[in-house]
């Protein structure tokens, strides 16, 4: 029996014989600190507790310990609080409260936060905590090689993918890794939105020169969510100049977006072509194995034990993004804390998560699929149904059929009749064609992924 188990048994014993208030007051945050031969040293959170346990519960605790282990002859107490636990708790509180209170704007720059004010990087994001799977392999490899050859091989690095799939994690890991190698490097991480608002305030205060200089001295510029620049022409222009200035000096630029450069509306062509000039890597939906690996990683880092079938269940049911996956896991952990580890079963997990896994699953119908496909390819809905054989219509039509078959699970004849009374063999042909092409054509796979994303969000 290790110390933790031993103390747990003692606590269960004591809990039975003292009042709840007493138990909570005097035994909270106690633990066995160490064992020295026949003596057990118990750590307590304050000197009040120490006095009390020493004087009032000493015999009781000793008796209880001896029942479990007769070698123990003595109990000692020391005041000791586990700093880690405290700071963890505090972090939790901080996080919670931050959501409730709007953070006041201007503060003295006391450096107690994890986040570095200078470069905006959050230290919790590192490569070590990034789980690599087939869906993000390429992006991860590109990010890794960027850290080894800053500014020379993949510049700019453009990473795109849906929200909650780990783009920010990857981006910040690069920044943190670079700083770890060489802390004198100037790294700046910010969102496109922040870039834009900084620029606006610079214009207001007439400090544009200062702003320009600030960004042109950077070794590694990381811009998150670049799609927010779309439609902001002046910001785009300024970003373009900054980009060029950095690019000329072989400074690394890393950009992320929720869609490929081509798909960002109203992005100026000169910017788009620049983004496409470097390395483009996508982060797509993690497959089941990756999701399970992520869960296992999270579970291990939280130092809890969760059975395989529960983890599989969560991985199976939360497919859309990793944040959701984490949310589900947190909910299960919460439930474990309330009910105790042992009472957790697959069924209770299912119950807890049911509301979550079902609700966002949007019910799709034929109309929606047609509408979204038409929208995506910029054709009219009715053109999909009409008998037009132009290439630009045929392709979307086939994709629509494919989706109706695979996502909506409609039968071939139904699809045929809904698509303007076509024969079911036409539909079969369309599905087979897309299926075959999917194996070789990555662009198509991407397009279909994006359409699916629109369908489900």
């Amino acid at each position: 029996m290790d110390n933790q188990e031993l103390w747990q048994c003692v606590l269960s014993d004591i809990e039975l014989s003292v009042s709840k208030a007493n138990f909570n007051t005097w035994f909270r945050d106690t633990a066995i600190y160490t064992r020295e031969g026949n003596a057990v040293v118990v750590s307590v959170p304050s000197s009040f507790t120490k006095e009390w346990l020493e004087n009032k519960f000493n015999k009781f605790i000793l008796k209880s310990l001896r029942e479990l282990n007769s070698e123990i002859k003595e109990v000692k107490f020391i005041v000791y609080t586990n700093q880690e636990n405290i700071s963890q708790n505090n972090n939790l509180i901080t996080k919670k409260k931050k959501q409730i209170f709007k953070k006041p704007e201007n503060q003295l720059q006391l450096k107690v936060l994890n986040k570095d004010a200078e470069n905006n990087l959050n230290l919790k994001y590192t490569f070590d905590t990034f789980v690599v799977g087939s869906s993000n392999e390429l992006a991860h490899a590109a990010a890794k090689s960027v850290t080894k050859n800053l500014g020379t091989i993949y510049n700019p690095l453009f990473i795109y993918g849906g929200s909650g799939l780990g783009k920010t994690h990857l981006l910040q890991s690069i920044g943190n890794n670079i700083l770890k190698q060489d802390s004198s490097k100037k790294v700046k991480y910010l969102s496109a939105e922040k870039f834009s608002s900084e620029m606006i305030s610079a214009i207001q205060c007439g400090e544009m020169e200062k702003f320009k200089n600030k960004y042109r001295k950077i070794d590694l510029l990381i811009i998150d969510d670049i799609q927010f620049l779309s439609g902001k022409e002046k910001t785009q222009e300024e970003f373009f100049h900054t980009f060029n200035a950095l690019y000329e000096k072989n400074k690394q630029i890393i950009i992320s977006s929720d869609r490929p450069p081509k798909a960002i509306k109203t992005l100026e062509d000169r910017l788009r072509s620049r983004f496409e000039g470097g390395m483009i890597a996508d982060v797509s939906y993690p497959d089941f194995e990756t999701r399970l690996a992520i869960l296992k990683f999270k579970v291990a880092s939280k130092e809890i034990i969760l059975s395989e079938d529960i983890m599989s269940y969560i991985a199976e049911n939360f497919k859309r993004n990793i944040r959701e996956l984490e949310g589900a896991l947190n909910k299960v952990i919460m439930q474990m804390n309330i009910l105790g580890d042992k009472k957790i079963s697959l069924n209770s997990v299912k119950k807890t998560l049911s509301s979550e896994s079902e609700m966002p699953k949007k019910i799709i119908n034929i109309k929606q699929i047609l509408k979204i496909v038409a929208n995506f390819y910029d054709v009219e809905e009715k053109q999909l149904i009409q008998r037009i054989r132009r290439q630009e219509i045929v392709r979307p039509r086939q994709i629509a059929m494919f989706l109706l078959r695979n996502e909506y699970k409609a039968s071939f004849p139904t699809i045929g009749s809904k698509m303007g009374g076509r024969d079911h063999t036409t539909v079969i042909h369309a599905c087979e064609k897309i299926n075959n092409e999917l194996k070789t054509n990555n662009m198509l796979a991407e397009e279909i992924n994006l359409i699916k994303q629109r369908l489900y969000t």
Partner: protein, 375 residues
């Protein structure tokens, strides 16, 4: 406790017991899940009655003079007894334990209170060491008062929810901040009677507040510091408090080393203008200062959609450096100004988004740093 033990019996003056219980009352906690903490343990101690109370973070022992007729101890519900005693004239009060009841009586008045089990009362820890620090209590009190209003009142960051006492080679630096402003008071070692401690500790806000209330004479206060607690011995009062664990942020780095704009002005003038401006400020307490060096003019402005607008010139003695337009929370400005001693103050600014500094022109042992509101 055995049956044979003596039952407590004392006589003391209403005023003495009232003063003692007032201190106990403030320390004891009001809504704990441990109801025993609403009580105080009373114990005879030679010619005194010792009153002990605690909320498990602070423990306090107060000795009050009394005539001991029979040694013993008992337990009293603090607020009940205090309500009773507050309403009595300053006469002799007899307190006596008799058949599981506590009898409190004066010449013409009698009460009897059931006694609860005193075995449940927490043991207040003792600090065994000799004194570490001896300092004049008025100097100590003033220093705490000057920084107290800068302490962060929320528990979001526990390490700044208290006052830092940092014992340096030649001075004691007392610091408090809530990230919007920061107060630093320096007591030189020559003003401290005994120092045998050269580390630092963070004193919880509530303890500091209590010390300010307790200290009312010119006597010395003695500090004993141990790993996780600190004891204060002052007159007949012994107060023990936990120390906040954690590392105080490195505050020195945010104290501005130089400034772009420097103003010397009369404190009262500044205070009164801020007070008037505050009437017209909006719900974020903002007031604006427009400082024009070329025309040697300082304007204070405030406005609110509903209340209207206010503007006034501020008289000053000296103004040099750059022009600046800056917005402050008037409450924070007021707090700082009230902490500063002397007639004239030095107000140093470095741009409208960098911390500004307030200090006295005459005394250089205190400074107050305040963050402007972003415009």
């Amino acid at each position: 406790m055995s049956e044979k033990e003596n039952k407590l019996k004392i006589i003391c003056l209403q005023e003495n017991i009232k003063n003692g219980l007032n201190i106990s009352e403030r320390v004891s906690c009001k809504n704990s899940n441990l109801p025993i903490l609403n009580n105080a343990l009373i114990k005879t101690d030679k010619g005194f009655l010792k009153i002990l109370s605690t909320n498990l973070e602070i423990g306090v022992e107060v000795l009050i003079p009394c005539k001991v007729k029979q040694q013993g101890s008992s337990i009293i519900p603090i607020r009940l007894i205090l309500n009773l005693i507050n309403n009595l004239p300053n006469t002799k009060i007899q307190i006596e334990e008799f058949e599981n009841k506590l009898l409190i009586s004066t010449d013409n008045l009698k009460t009897s209170i059931p006694i609860i089990n005193k075995e449940e009362f927490p043991i207040i820890p003792k600090i065994k060491k000799e004194s570490d620090i001896i300092i004049n209590s008025q100097i100590f009190k003033k220093a705490i008062e000057q920084v107290l209003n800068s302490v962060a009142l929320s528990d979001l960051k526990p390490e700044i929810s208290g006052i830092l006492f940092d014992f340096k080679k030649d001075s004691l630096n007392i610091v408090a901040t809530d990230v919007f402003r920061l107060s630093e008071k320096i007591i030189l070692n020559k003003d401290i009677k005994k120092i045998e401690y050269n580390e630092s500790f963070i004193l919880p806000y509530k303890t500091a507040q209590e010390l300010v209330k307790i200290i009312d004479s010119n006597n010395d206060i003695i500090l004993n510091i141990e790993d996780n607690q600190v004891a204060f011995l002052y007159d007949k009062i012994n107060l023990i408090s936990k120390i906040i664990e954690g590392e105080y942020p490195n505050y020195k780095q945010i104290i501005p080393k130089e400034s772009k704009t420097k103003i010397i002005l009369n404190k009262e003038e500044f205070l009164s203008k801020i007070k008037i401006a505050s009437i017209f400020s909006s719900n974020i307490n903002d007031i604006k200062l427009l400082i024009d060096v070329k025309n040697q003019n300082i304007l204070i402005k405030s406005e609110d959609n509903i209340k209207g607008e206010f503007s006034s010139e501020i008289d000053f003695n000296k103004l040099e450096g750059e022009d600046i337009k800056i917005v402050f929370n008037w409450k924070y400005l007021l707090d700082g100004l009230l902490n500063i001693e002397g007639e004239d103050i030095v107000f140093e600014l470095s741009g409208n988004s960098s911390p500004a500094m307030l200090k006295s022109k005459e005394f250089n042992d205190y400074l107050y740093i305040i963050m402007p509101i972003k415009q």
